[in-house]
């Protein structure tokens, strides 16, 4: 099963980029958790290291077998993840009014993270079979639409609108990438324009508040408005070279809300300045470019689309998270890949990297 040629083809570049980003993340997390007197946070750094350990193991599992095996198993993987989402709604643990976690012994899993990978696999399978010159017609899009709608509704019920929207973005951009028939695209755009305002009525009060707050930050000076102000002060005060490792005053004084998860980029920006933020963004850009190049080189349509899906997933998360902390986007709970604290997010990202490596290693193997 294990071909020596595969070892020779191992994508060291991809591994290097990933390791660099992970180091960035761990250093920043150390900073964020060393802050203040919140002793619980002190263990977060250690916990994240453990997650990375598990992540590496999962990643290895994701490239030792031939990724083409994912094709026939796509539906099973998808259904299993949907099953987990249903289980969350039934047995999930309540944290601050929402049910997003499943307790498996001592660890808690967030199935809404795993479903991202599952839907990328199942769509890659569908699109690699059906794609044609003129693009998809509306009728051909019914299946992807259903595939996306089921987990979306389950996630929104938790409620976790941010992750739900992330799912829609992944599915939407994969579909657009594959091409939609012109007329169908116009229809879709048209109905979208009609229906999007209607979505407003389904949003919960606080979700509407967030959007309105984004449009006018003065609306909620005590909540999101305050967070954004503090985040902007933290980022801006980093200036060009930053205040230095562990020197971030905004962060140290716990001015930043959720500094170890959603707002971790602000901690980085404060301590390492423009130098640090640009470096991290550059690494992310390299990672994305690498992902696209793997898609480009892959000779198997399933593998290509899979690589594109994983790449867009990482892209949207980076864009939305950093855009949010810089005050470019509404505050939604989206973690920064490899950097934010959180086991499920790390595992999901490492699965993604594992699959990319898998595709990359087997790029010369024809079916």
């Amino acid at each position: 099963m294990f071909d020596r040629r595969l070892v020779q083809c191992f994508d060291w570049g991809l591994l290097a980029i990933t390791v660099l980003i992970a180091v960035f993340g761990l250093v920043t997390l150390y900073s964020a958790s060393a802050s203040g007197s919140q002793s619980i946070l002190k263990t977060l750094y250690a916990k994240q290291l453990i997650w990375y350990g598990i992540g590496v193991a999962v990643m290895v599992c994701c490239f030792v077998f031939n990724y083409k095996l994912l094709d026939p198993w796509a539906n099973v993987i998808y259904l299993a993840c949907v099953g987990l989402l249903v289980a969350v709604l039934l047995f999930g643990k309540y944290v601050a009014g929402s049910r997003r976690w499943l307790m498996l012994g001592p660890i808690s899993v967030q199935p809404s993270e795993l479903i991202k990978i599952a839907i990328i696999i199942v769509l890659a399978r569908y699109y690699s079979k059906e794609v044609n010159t003129t693009g998809f017609t509306l009728r051909e899009l019914v299946i992807p639409l259903l595939l996306a709608a089921v987990p979306f509704l389950l996630i929104v019920r938790q409620p976790d609108l941010g992750t739900g929207l992330m799912l829609i973005l992944i599915v939407g951009s994969m579909t657009l990438f594959i091409k939609i028939e012109k007329r169908s695209l116009m229809y879709l755009a048209g109905t979208g324009l009609v229906f999007v305002p209607m979505v407003w009525f389904f949003l919960k009060g606080y979700q509407k508040q967030r959007i309105l707050t984004f449009l006018n930050p003065d609306r909620d000076p005590l909540g999101a408005g305050y967070h954004i102000i503090q985040s902007k002060i933290a980022i801006g005060s980093g200036m060009i070279f930053g205040k230095g490792f562990l020197e971030g005053t905004q962060n140290v004084l716990s001015f930043l809300p959720e500094q170890h998860t959603d707002f971790i980029f602000s901690v980085l920006a404060e301590e390492w300045g423009l130098f640090g933020t640009v470096s991290l963004l550059f690494l992310f850009f390299l990672l994305l470019a690498k992902g696209l190049s793997i898609a480009y080189k892959c000779r198997n349509p399933f593998g290509s689309i899979l690589a594109v899906g994983i790449t867009v997933m990482i892209f949207w998360q980076v864009l939305i998270n950093t855009g949010m902390v810089m005050g470019l986007m509404p505050v939604v709970g989206i973690p920064l890949p490899f950097v934010s604290y959180g086991g499920s997010s790390i595992i999901t990202m490492m699965i993604g990297i594992g699959i990319l490596m898998n595709i990359s290693m087997r790029r010369f193997v024809m079916d």
């Binding site: 601050a96 005590l222 801006g236 200036m239 004084l253 716990s254 864009l319």
Partner: protein, 613 residues
């Protein structure tokens, strides 16, 4: 054969990948521009802001809604509480500041240190409460030495104030600090740690209306932690105003009449079911709960045998005793077992099987019909009537009259009481109903248990001609600008199960109780107001031998005294139910309470109408 991947030319796919790459480049360019703007162009400005750490969030507590009585008299408001707190970040050097503070206000420094250790997880820029509700002397001392006490501040928060302490405590209720579990539950969206929420009574039931919404300020502070600029403010929203149905003066009158005794009084408007007074004695001071009640105080409230925390009007159950004879009479008349003229003879006791059931009057009442039997409360008459009706018929009438069922009052933990049936006993004890037990039940002893509220509602229904109203405690809830958010309209739960003739006859009997020559409650007679009512003496235990005399009993074994009434007899304006625990005789202990309460209320009413005309 359209599948692109199957054709050799994959240019199409590559083109699309280029598109994606361009999109990503564009997106990253936007991020970079934004970073450049924040970190370079505005970097100096943000660096300055971050170094003084000057933007802080201050919480503004909401003003809890006010509570008024039916006449708009204020019962519960808020007073300012001056709280002493410290912001660690500003209080540098900390030990020195604490020592100085301790010297100025005479509080041992260890006490502060302890509070600070307990709040270790609070971020250093957030205030830690050292002492809530400090006196004027401490406030003055801190303010005078403010220059010497960096980071020490006195803040003003609204604090609940019950204007008439102990008055209506059971129905208004009290507050308690919200706990972590409640905070996490999401049921109290407007609260935050340290907030107080309703724990009992109206304060609890209408918490969502009363609480109000918290506000806050983004402020800019200087290095000493002093506010130099208010950036943005969100005002706190005041809680909504609750208008109770009670008449505050009447409530206090009822409480005075109960003073020193354990018992309960309910007064009700018979037409609307609005509760005019609802007193339970002994009571407690709700103000003691403001700012947290001490363990000792709480323990002493719990261990008091007279149960001051229990709302005896709805949570305590008593045998209805002779007041239940009204039910027996109604059932007998409606079932055609007796009519107006049917007479039974009382020789002081009634032999049933091998047991002798005594009448309260040893020498007997002689032959009497239902009206007189009610007015003299003859036990033997009702033994015989009850025996003919049977326990299940009696229970049917009692339930329809609202006894043994919850009245639906909007307060927590209302007891339903108990009206026994033969089925109930079989299920409960496994033993069949004994015919002799029906005799005790017919005069309101035995298993029967009712609440004072049930009796008040029943009296209200008799008084108004047979409509059993739902008791109402809150008339309406309004926002501060007067919008009505909730209005409780009078509602009829059921019709009492009797005809006009039966009602008239019963009412005549009840009139005789107070106004007749031989009535048992002559003591409640008033010259200018005609009262109708019924006494009751509820035994706490059953007499073992017929020689037992109540006089010899120790206090806690003495019977409870009941008096239920309405007035004026011809056009009732008020229905009353009174119970005095261990008061011995209904007439002597409970009668005067009801009488004085009615007199007070009618006096108040005529004063109001006098002013109006």
């Amino acid at each position: 054969m359209n599948n692109y991947f199957k054709s050799a030319d994959s240019n199409w796919f590559r083109q699309r990948l280029t598109g994606v790459l361009l999109f990503i480049v564009a997106a990253f360019a936007v991020l970079l521009v934004r970073l450049f703007y924040l970190q370079v162009i505005r970097g100096d400005e943000y660096r300055r802001l971050s170094e003084s750490n000057c933007i802080r969030l201050q919480y503004i507590s909401p003003q809890r809604g006010l509570i008024f009585d039916r006449n708009g008299e204020l019962l519960v408001d808020n007073r300012p509480s001056f709280d002493l707190s410290i912001i660690l970040k500003d209080a540098r050097p900390l030990t020195q500041t604490l020592e100085k503070l301790s010297g100025y206000i005479n509080v041992p420094v260890e006490q502060f240190a302890e509070t600070i250790t307990r709040n270790k997880s609070v971020p250093s820029y957030k205030p830690i409460l050292l002492q809530a509700d400090v006196g004027r002397d401490i406030m003055a001392a801190v303010q005078v030495h403010q220059y010497d006490l960096p980071g020490v501040e006195i803040t003003v928060t609204p604090c609940r104030h019950y204007i008439y302490e102990q008055s209506a405590a059971h129905l208004i209720g009290y507050l308690g600090e919200i706990n972590g579990e409640e905070l996490r539950s999401g049921k109290f969206p407007e609260t935050r740690g340290g907030d107080y929420i309703g724990r009992y009574g109206v304060e609890k039931i209408y918490e969502s209306y009363l609480h109000g919404t918290g506000g806050g300020r983004q402020v800019e502070v200087n290095v000493r932690g002093q506010v130099v600029n208010v950036l943005k403010t969100v005002d706190a929203g005041q809680g909504h105003e609750v208008y109770l149905t009670i008449d505050s003066a009447l409530q206090r009158k009822a409480e005075t009449l109960l003073a020193g005794r354990a018992g309960a009084v309910v007064a009700m408007d018979p037409d609307t079911g609005e509760i005019l007074a609802m007193a339970s004695s002994p009571s407690f001071d709700q103000n003691e709960f403001v700012g947290g009640i001490s363990k000792d105080q709480w323990r002493s409230l719990l261990s008091n045998p007279d149960k001051p925390l229990q709302n005896k009007t709805i949570q305590a159950v008593y045998p209805p005793a002779s007041t239940y004879k009204i039910i027996t009479a109604i059932a007998g008349l409606e079932e055609g077992i007796i009519d107006e003229h049917t007479e039974f003879t009382c020789y002081g006791s009634y032999k049933f099987g091998d047991r002798r059931f005594r009448c309260w009057r040893k020498q007997g009442h002689g032959a009497l019909a239902v009206e007189e039997a009610l007015s003299q409360s003859c036990d033997v008459f009702f033994y015989q009537l009850g025996q003919r009706l049977g326990v299940d018929k009696l229970a049917e009438y009692a339930n329809r009259c609202g006894l043994g069922v919850k009245t639906g009052l909007h307060l927590e933990n209302e007891e339903s009481g108990l009206i026994p049936t033969s089925k109930w006993k079989k299920r409960k004890t496994g033993i069949s109903w004994q015919a002799g037990e029906t005799l005790s039940v017919a005069i309101g002893q035995g298993y029967n248990l009712v609440t004072p509220m049930q009796m008040a509602v029943f009296m209200a229904a008799v008084a108004n001609g047979g409509n059993r109203p739902e008791p109402i405690l809150v008339r309406r809830i309004c926002s501060v600008n007067g919008d009505v958010l909730l209005e409780n309209k009078p509602r009829i739960v059921d019709r009492l199960p009797f005809s006009k003739t039966t009602l008239d006859l019963v009412k005549k009997g009840l009139w005789q109780v107070v106004n007749g020559k031989t009535g048992t409650a002559k003591i409640a007679h008033l010259k200018d107001i005609e009262i109708s009512g019924k006494t009751g003496t509820a035994q706490v235990f059953s007499h073992k031998s017929k020689d037992d005399r109540d006089d010899d009993l120790s206090d806690h074994l003495k019977p409870h005294a009941w008096f239920v009434a309405y007035a004026p007899s011809d056009h009732p304006r008020i229905a009353v139910s009174v119970i005095i625990e261990h008061g011995e005789h209904g007439a002597s202990a409970a009668g005067p309470v009801a009488r004085d309460l009615i007199q007070f209320y009618m006096g108040e009413q005529s004063a109001v109408s006098g002013q109006a005309s």
